[in-house]
């Protein structure tokens, strides 16, 4: 590298670090509170078909409690009357319509964030002598939690030695170990009560939780069921049930199914308390539903307030974006694109991988954010292959270049529509998001693929496809790396480091890895 290159790199790195230092120095501890956090976009899709019925639908909505935040809620119910019923901490979304006929689709969505909680139980905790009135009912037996039945009492006496019976810590430990380890885990449909679980020796989350709650109540510890969701990226139907026991004056969570003892992880979202169904609806309406989850980064609520107070050039980027209603997600995509470009630059100039179009892999990786990498690549390859075949057919018509490209673009539009229909038909949500694929880039890629195929053979064309797929995957991995995203969104100055890297690679005269392969004979002969 020449002196001017070194100076440029030093300047870029220097400016970046000074800005970082300035920010961290000024913000101090506030930084950790201002970092974007992982949230989930939660979507509940419901559908039903009615035949001149009066319809009511009741759905548990995530409560706003100290461990979880629910924002940006949306209730899509164009033809239904909607209101929220509160009972205690529970919120029930009620959709109603009289004389409904036909097919209806209903939607609930929101952005949620839950925190993990872990409680350290001392070895000895006295049973509560008196419990508050609102907790009292959780000591009594209930329909499915038969805490007073002979079988449950027998089991309790068998499991818990007399000396331990006054110790809440020992009772929950024993009840937890029994339900989580001695009861086999099976998928069961419907409601399994405590006694059935005990008799069968196997249950799913509901049965285990009810038996655990029954044992707690038998031992004098108030216990209640908690219904909720295990959040993840993807689509699912099943909800989850676990238990909270009233210990030392507070509700402590237990999940016998997944072995969380006095602990609740951050992907558990509470929807309601009590032994009741998550969803109730009028009969005979062919009701269907699914949950959709997607991990997203969002600034913590308090950070948005705090951002306004910081001096210019600190967190004001978010704030400025928020002012014009541009979500953090978009800001994140824009800021991550240079990192995608970095992957492309390294792949081309250092590794020597050939791809279609210079920055096409980085742009495709952006589009794959919506469909996910696997679906994205599958659709991409399908479009390439079908497009290539169509272009071969078009050769026969001898069309002018631009109209021919326009036909290829139309074909690409059709494929994308087909992917969306395929997604709808199979109930897969990911392919339906192919609508954000960059049309023109795909069309030009099809054209280049076909030309290379024609002029240099299928072998060479395949090689370029494989190279492109690798670089897309690499750019995708880097651009969706969440820790990096958090750093870049909070400190956009890091882009200066990327520019420094571009300067270094831009002045690098070493051999590309691919060239070591290509010229291996010359290179290794010289070594002898």
């Amino acid at each position: 590298m020449r002196t001017r290159d070194k100076i440029a790199v030093l300047l870029l790195v220097g400016i970046c670090y000074s800005l970082l230092f300035y920010k961290i120095h000024n913000l101090g501890g506030a930084i950790s509170r201002a970092l974007p956090q992982r949230h989930y976009e939660l979507l509940l899709n419901m559908s039903l078909t009615a035949h001149n019925d009066d319809i009511q639908l009741r759905v548990a909505l995530p409560p706003q409690i100290d461990r979880q935040i629910v924002r940006e809620e949306f209730f899509g119910s164009p033809e239904f009357a909607f209101h929220i019923n509160r009972d205690g901490a529970n919120r029930w979304g009620i959709w109603e319509k009289s004389n409904a006929t036909g097919y209806y689709a209903l939607v609930y969505s929101g952005t949620v964030r839950a925190e993990a909680r872990r409680y350290k139980l001392p070895p000895r905790i006295d049973l509560p002598r008196r419990v508050p009135a609102e907790v009292e009912s959780y000591l009594l037996p209930s329909e499915y939690i038969q805490a007073d039945s002979a079988e449950v009492r027998n089991l309790f006496e068998q499991l818990v030695p007399a000396s331990d019976r006054g110790n809440a810590a020992a009772v929950v430990r024993t009840a937890f170990d029994y339900t989580s380890k001695m009861i086999r885990t099976v998928e069961l449909k419907g409601t399994t009560d405590a006694i059935t679980t005990l008799r069968l020796g196997e249950a799913s989350c509901g049965g285990k939780s009810r038996l655990f709650a029954a044992l707690c109540r038998a031992g004098g510890i108030p216990a209640r069921l908690v219904g909720g969701l295990i959040l993840k990226d993807g689509i699912w139907r099943s909800s989850h049930i676990w238990v909270e026991a009233w210990i030392a004056g507070m509700w402590v969570p237990f999940c016998p199914l997944n072995g969380y003892f006095a602990e609740i992880p951050s992907h558990y979202l509470i929807l309601y308390y009590g032994d009741q169904p998550l969803l109730t609806h009028s009969a005979d309406i062919n009701f269907n539903y699914s949950f959709h989850g997607k991990k997203v980064l969002a600034p913590p609520a308090e950070a948005m307030q705090a951002a306004k107070k910081f001096p210019a050039g600190t967190l004001s980027l978010w704030w400025a974006f928020e002012q014009v209603r541009i979500p953090l997600n978009l800001l994140k995509i824009i800021l991550m694109i240079p990192f995608g470009a970095l992957v492309v630059v390294l792949a081309r100039n250092v590794v020597g991988i050939e791809t279609f179009g210079t920055f096409m892999p980085a742009l495709m990786a952006v589009a794959f954010r919506d469909t996910g990498l696997a679906w994205g690549l599958m659709l991409f390859l399908a479009i390439l292959l079908c497009g290539g075949i169509i272009r071969c057919g078009l050769q026969w018509f001898q069309l002018l270049h631009t109209p021919k490209l326009a036909i290829l673009m139309t074909a690409t539009v059709t494929f994308i529509m087909a992917a969306i229909l395929l997604g709808v038909a199979t109930g897969q949500v990911l392919p339906t998001r192919a609508s954000t694929f960059p049309l023109m880039i795909l069309t030009l890629t099809v054209e280049r693929f076909a030309i290379i195929w024609e002029e240099e053979g299928l072998g060479k064309a395949t090689k370029v496809v494989v190279g492109t797929v690798f670089v897309i995957a690499g750019a995708f991995a880097v651009m969706n790396w969440q820790s990096l995203q958090i750093i870049v969104v909070t400190f956009p100055e890091t882009l200066l480091l990327v520019v420094a890297a571009f300067v270094i690679v831009g002045r690098w005269t070493g051999m590309r890895f691919g060239e070591y392969m290509r010229f291996r004979e010359l290179i290794f002969r010289k070594e002898r």
């Binding site: 002018l400 002029e455 051999m511 290509r518 004979e521 010359l522």
Partner: protein, 290 residues
């Protein structure tokens, strides 16, 4: 010595030679074949005669009148690279147009020619350009030594010129797979050339060494390039008149015209090192030192 120190990689070629020795404003003189031919002819460097130039689609309507009297020609995009878009067309005994296919001369109607030229005009073969010109060039007839080793097309000689000095050379011979075109990545094979004597050395097809002809399977002879001194002399003159410090000069030895410059390349490929079984780096870096 480091691994591969003597082999010139593409990064080093670009940064230390192409960008350093070739000023951006002179790139078009090499990238555009028509401009290059104009400059070369003006300086008295022999080039194959240009028969006709198509600058826009509407000129295609009298294509028959413009090609009717020509027996054989090469269709070329002015700004194509790597031999892309070049077709060799010849009239058969019945006066029908034919081009070189996988199995020999295949019919190539006037409509096919029109389509091909319109693709050229749309910039299909000139990457990152939206339009181009197409021209027909007199079909050269290779002399017998290299011509005898080629499949139908026209073999050429590539000389890398660095700062006025010929640095390395090879000859590229069309094969059946390359359909008459002398480009290595289209399947032509190449001989390295001894710079002193003009004697061919090793042969490569793609990145592989070969000792037999890829089409006939006959052992490849060592031949002496005819008029080798003239070839070097013309290369030097060509490089001088386009003001490019690092340039690949492509020369064809025609039966009647002798050595003519076909085109120039401001970013000549690196496979020439494989054909010569020798790296370019040491030679070039030593030449560069004052």
């Amino acid at each position: 010595m480091h691994l591969g120190d003597d082999v010139l990689g593409i990064n080093a070629r670009n940064l230390d030679f192409v960008y350093k020795l070739n000023r951006r404003k002179y790139f078009p003189t090499a990238d555009d074949k028509l401009i290059a031919k104009e400059i070369l002819s003006a300086a008295g460097v022999p080039t194959p005669p240009t028969l006709t130039i198509f600058r826009s689609h509407w000129e295609l309507k009298d294509i028959e009148a413009r090609t009717g009297a020509i027996d054989g020609f090469a269709v070329k995009p002015a700004q194509g690279s790597g031999g892309r878009g070049i077709l060799i067309v010849r009239r058969d005994f019945a006066g029908r147009l034919t081009t070189i296919g996988q199995t020999g001369w295949t019919p190539f109607g006037i409509e096919d020619l029109k389509t091909h030229i319109s693709y050229i005009l749309s910039g299909l073969y000139s990457l990152e350009k939206l339009s181009d010109r197409a021209f027909l060039e007199q079909l050269l007839e290779p002399e017998d030594i290299l011509g005898g080793l080629s499949y139908r097309g026209v073999p050429d000689i590539r000389v890398i010129m660095c700062q006025g000095q010929p640095a390395m050379a090879m000859t590229r011979l069309p094969t059946q797979r390359s359909r008459g075109r002398a480009n290595l990545h289209q399947g032509a094979f190449a001989f390295g050339i001894d710079m002193e004597t003009g004697q061919t050395t090793h042969a490569v097809l793609g990145n592989q060494n070969i000792t037999r002809h890829p089409d006939t399977g006959q052992p490849l002879p060592r031949v002496k390039i005819p008029a080798w001194k003239d070839v070097l002399e013309i290369s030097s003159r060509a490089a001088r008149c386009v003001e490019l410090g690092y340039v690949g000069v492509d020369i064809v030895i025609d039966k009647r015209l002798g050595p003519v410059v076909l085109e120039l390349n401001a970013r000549p490929g690196l496979n020439i090192q494989l054909a010569n079984r020798e790296g370019l780096a040491r030679k070039l870096y030593e030449d560069k030192k004052p």
